[in-house]
């Protein structure tokens, strides 16, 4: 099927699609904000974030604001490129 070969296994789950969409339209964005947008549980989100970090699609920054720890995320160049290819694939499948 045309476009099918362009799909990336890393974006199989809808949570990951949402996660990548959010990252692509923001610079550094906090964990809390992502969680609020996606409306998923901590365990679910954490596992998807880890998986995407492992393949270098997103980067993590940990810092402290006063005494509170703050984790923010950003999409990497590879991540953006792969995501764009995936969306193009989806579009091709729809347009057939």
């Amino acid at each position: 099927m045309e476009g099918f070969d362009q799909l990336n296994k890393a974006f199989d789950s809808r949570v990951r699609l949402g996660l990548m969409s959010i990252l692509c339209v923001n610079s550094w964005i906090s964990y809390r904000e992502i969680k609020n947008l996606l409306e998923v549980t901590d365990g679910n989100l954490a596992s998807h974030i880890n998986a995407l970090e492992k393949i270098n699609f997103l980067e993590i920054k940990k810092q402290f604001i006063g005494k509170k720890p703050l984790t923010t995320y950003r999409v990497t160049f590879q991540g953006k490129k792969a995501f764009k290819k995936h969306i193009d694939g989806l579009e091709k499948m729809l347009l057939r």
Binding site: G18, S21, I22, C24, N26, I29, S30, I65, L90, M93
Partner: protein, 215 residues
């Protein structure tokens, strides 16, 4: 089967991108404060306009608007009105900016993101046009329509800005718009509608935003 799944994927992507690009750093408290400032300003205008400077005679705001005071008095008061109005606007904007910065920092989002610019621009294009229009109204001595016009243009600004921030802003926008149009009919009662539109509505709306988004 695959078609519908793909469609769902695409709509997820669209929804998330849209949601994540909305400006959400306005703080409810700052909207409440701007409402209170508007109240104080209106009180200022009301009480000061109540006393004619020239001969100590009592002349109310609506009497002045309806040509029952001396002309010099009216000019003087209009200048005062414009100054107080501008000061209210500036203080409100400053308070909102300050609170937005704090909120953005707390949620670790960048305040000056593209959504901020878009929301600001869509609010200020109508507001700016309305400001200039009001100046011409004063210039042509149609002072009674200044308060309604500011309400109408502010409402239009809110409606257009609502697409880039909390969608509830649209409701507030229509409210201001309707108040402005009603106020255009009851010329002279502008201050009352001004208090309703800028004072009470902001305070109520601020509470709503604070309760639903800030906690």
């Amino acid at each position: 089967m695959i078609q519908t799944e793909t469609n769902k994927d695409i709509s997820t992507i669209k929804e998330m991108m849209e949601k994540a690009t909305k400006f959400s750093s306005i703080s409810g408290i700052s909207i409440i404060i701007s409402g209170i400032i508007a109240f104080i300003g209106a009180a200022f205008i009301y009480f000061d306009l109540g006393i004619s400077i020239e001969n100590g005679e009592f002349v109310s705001y609506s009497q002045l608007i309806n040509d029952k005071g001396s002309q010099e008095d009216l000019k003087l008061k209009m200048t005062l009105l414009v100054i107080i109005g501008s000061v209210i606007l500036l203080i409100s904007l400053f308070v909102m900016f300050l609170f937005s910065r704090i909120k953005a920092k707390k949620e670790s989002v960048n305040l000056f993101n593209p959504t901020f610019g878009r929301a600001l621009r869509s609010l200020f294009v109508p507001l700016f046009a309305g400001g200039i229009f009001s100046m011409f109204l004063i210039h042509h001595d149609v002072v009674g329509l200044v308060a309604p016009v500011t309400l109408i243009f502010y409402g239009l600004g809110l409606i257009s800005a609502s697409k880039h921030t909390y969608s509830e802003l649209e409701i507030l926008g229509y409210l201001e718009l309707v108040l402005g149009i009603i106020a255009s009919y009851f010329m002279g009662a502008g201050l009352f509608f001004w208090v309703l539109g800028f004072g009470i509505s902001h305070i109520l709306f601020g509470f709503y935003i604070h309760r639903t988004y800030d906690r």
